[in-house]
Amino acid sequence: MEKRWYDVAVVGAGVSGCATARELSRYDASVLVLEALDDVCCGTSKANSAIVHAGFDAAEGTLMARLNVEGNAMFPQLSRDLDFPFEQVGSLVVCLDEGARPDLEALLDRGAANGVPGLRIVERDELRQMEPNVSDEAVCALWAPTGGICDPWGLCCALAENAAANGVEFRFDARVAAIDRDEEGLWRLRLEDGGEVVTRTVVNAAGVHADELHNMVSPRRMTIVARRGEYELLDTTAGAHVHHTVFALPTKMGKGVLVTPTTHGNLLVGPTADDIDDKDDTSTTPRGMRSVVEKSALTVKDVPFRETITSFSGLRAHRPEHEFAIGEVHGAPGFVDCAGIESPGLTASPAIGVMVAGIVRDILGLEPKEGFVATRRGFVDLDKVSPDEWNALVEGDSSYGTIVCRCRRVSEGQIRDACRRVPGARSVDGVKRRVTATMGRCQGGFCSPRVMQIICEEVEGMDMLHVSKSGPGSEYVVGLAKQPVEGGEARG
């Protein structure tokens, strides 16, 4: 029987929405996550620096600073519970000019005030030892041992799967077109496809579109600017070029870009920062690509850009106030904003989830439920299993012995597993985000046809004509080969 209403509808299945949903799944409540696109982690959460910030950037006393440090502290345990890639590699903010040392010291002081542990300034020689490829111009650096790197796709999928395992429902391709509050005080969300969802509370975690949702219920306008950041991703052959996340100390000349290893073993360089009008425009630009290359050279020498395997851009949900907007909206009871979640939003996301779920809990008077399962089984990473462990996998399911993606060494078994999860992969990018097939040096040139076939075998109702890169409208093939040309006449 269809429920008349949900206790909570979370709009947006990015990392904030999924973290909130997972925290809400601890309580006795019916929770639905609505996502406009075809999978979790399709917006801001999918294309960013993949950094777990230590927490010295945000101004003391801000919500950003508090949730950054809290979120950072949650990562080690969360990554064990939910089994997603996270490494506390530490970060360095590199100072290139003795004259700027006071700025670096100010950063250290701010970090200390924010409660960031272990911060200290390392001098030239120690810095060289820690990071042999650091620029020859580097004078000193701020060392933050709690800085880390994570797999944002892995985090988001882990949160979503664990939420689903604890009873949260997910609905994809479900874009909210309008919101009304009815006479009973229930929120009615009309979807673009004509459907309707009725809910007691709404969590607005709609990323760059969160202002549009907010402004449907409140006369106090919110503005979110899409701030685009371009990145270059280098092959795993370049992954050890730096060992920590290397930031540039911001100067009058600008903010610089970071150079960091990733949990997938690649080297990531970026981002640029351009405010753009079109909130879905994740294109890259020649200027942006050049800028990333030039700026990286300020802090790290000889970055082997020849090993670049892809360029991409992501959109940060930037508010002019530069502060997270979290809380029940004035005059809209039960409508809770979780907006303006820009950097350090990924780091803060576990703490954001706790905070937002707490607000909803208090509004609805939710009680913890019995049987909440806090852990989730991650995906197999064949680079991290021993031969004996691999053989045990093959014994259980022989498809773990058939490699499909040669560049990232991903087996058929992992791809099937990605499709069988709830919520599972339904597109090639969905597979990529879960088990990394097609994200290696050949970028799917060899394996994408096979990945498409496996998706067709695993996803109910899917066929080769409909399997897509990232949801409807991004189908890979347009028809069968060896078919007559429409109209029967050759062109020419």
């Binding site: 670049t308 012995g401 040139g445 080969a481 020419g492």
Partner: protein
């Protein structure tokens, strides 16, 4: 893991190179040759090359790719050469222990008397080119599109722009036209084509598909699927010239922008790689810097014609057999062998092999290389020390066509230890 099994010669890759190497190794006396192939059938990339034009040199007739492969598969079958399919090699060690995985056996190890690397090459993806714009579906490497059409039976798009005039791109321009798609143009960054002349004629000219030299793609539009591609002319430094942009509404961008030898395993084994070819540095027997590990085909350097792959691979197979049967030593020679480095002079980008020993090389040695630009009316010259031993007139040479020169051992007599062999182009 069970203890390792042992084979005289283990060939990694069951494509054109691997099969020819395995057959030659067997014929040279290696009784126990094993081919490891990651796909579900032997033949490698030839299986999706359903056009004809293969085998003119080897078999004196025009075969399709699958037909050419089938000839070698038959030769391997006749010789009862063993092979494992759907088997991926995970590691090759310097002491020639091969670790592989498949669904039947899980992870297993093989000790090899000699190893032949024949893993082939991969296509350079979009990311390596830094093409700006969106990242929608509909951007394919030519080989990926070829697989979808020829093996899987799907049409990847209806309105197509091709970037790069490598042979696969040219072949696919024709194939997609035959399948009912419209190919708007082929854009080539360089002022010359990267493909064979015959492919330009048969795949583009015969179908009225324009080839724009000194052009590149500067933008891709489309959210879900490609909606348009913009190309522009480039200057001599290969930078796009503002104002020369042309926008094509299309649903597909096909990339044929270079092939890269797949040497991840070679690197793990500690094999020295050439920065130019990105393949192993080899001697006259096609032995890499790691003793007992040999390389041939596209993993060594990217070829244009499969016939030459087969020929080269046979050398590697024979050398591997000799090594394995000799108990881990190269074929014996009476004199202390001298080593001579091959040096690239004017117009020559690389040579395979990169060094040789006249005492070990046999009566003849085929030297293969590519030139760095289009040269008209020139001479291919080889100097042994100060002595010019080859001086062959060529009407035209181009980077898209691999060159070869056969050296005779007697030409190299009298070379002193340390003297170099120089290969270059000279004005007529």
């Amino acid at each position: 893991m069970a203890s390792a099994e042992r084979h005289d010669v283990v060939v990694i890759g069951g494509g054109s190179a691997g099969l020819a190497a395995a057959v030659a190794a067997h014929d040279a006396g290696a009784g126990d040759v094993l081919v490891l192939e990651r796909e579900g059938q032997l033949g490698g990339i030839l299986n999706q090359c359903i056009h004809n034009g293969f085998g003119l040199h080897t078999f004196k007739e025009e075969l399709t790719g699958p037909e050419y492969a089938a000839r070698y598969v038959a030769q391997a079958t006749e010789r009862k050469i063993t092979h494992l399919l759907r088997t991926t090699v995970l590691d090759v060690s310097a002491d020639r222990v091969v670790t592989a995985v498949n669904a039947e056996r899980g992870v297993f190890r093989i000790e090899a008397g000699a190893v032949v690397l024949a893993m082939g090459c991969r296509e350079r993806p979009r990311g390596a080119l830094g093409i700006a714009g969106t990242r929608p579906a509909g951007v394919y490497t030519a080989g990926c599109a070829q697989r979808l059409v020829n093996i899987d039976g799907y049409l990847p798009g209806r309105e197509v722009v091709v970037l790069g005039s490598g042979d696969i791109g040219l072949i696919m321009a024709r194939r997609l036209t035959l399948e009912g798609a419209h190919v708007a143009c082929v854009a080539e960054l360089m002022p010359y084509s990267g493909g064979l002349k015959r492919n330009i004629v048969q795949c583009l000219d015969d179908f009225g598909i324009p080839l724009y030299l000194s052009h590149t793609v500067v933008g891709v539009e489309g959210r879900g699927r490609v909606k348009a591609v913009t190309i522009a002319r480039v200057d001599e430094a290969l930078r796009p010239i503002p104002g020369t942009e042309r926008r094509y509404e299309c649903d597909t961008l096909l990339l044929s922008v270079g092939l890269l030898p797949e040497n991840e395993l070679s690197r793990q084994a500690g094999v020295e790689l050439s920065p130019v070819t990105r393949g192993p540095v080899v001697d006259e027997s096609l032995q890499t810097s790691v003793p007992g590990i040999f390389a041939c085909g596209n993993v060594l350097h990217v070829h244009d014609l499969v016939d030459y792959v087969s020929e080269e691979a046979a050398v590697a197979g024979r050398s591997a057999a000799a090594w394995a049967l000799g108990g881990g030593r190269a074929a014996a020679s009476d004199a202390m062998p001298t080593e001579h480095e091959l040096v690239c002079g004017e117009g020559v980008r690389y040579t395979v092999p990169a060094h040789l020993s006249p005492q070990r090389m046999g009566e003849r040695l085929t030297l293969r290389f590519r030139v760095s630009g289009v040269y008209q009316d020139c001479h291919l010259s080889v100097y042994a020390g100060e002595r010019r031993i080859v001086h062959r007139r060529k009407q035209v040479v181009a980077p898209g066509e691999m060159q070869e020169v056969v050296l005779r051992r007697d030409q190299l007599q009298g070379l002193h230890g340390g003297e170099k062999i120089r290969v270059l182009l000279e004005e007529a």
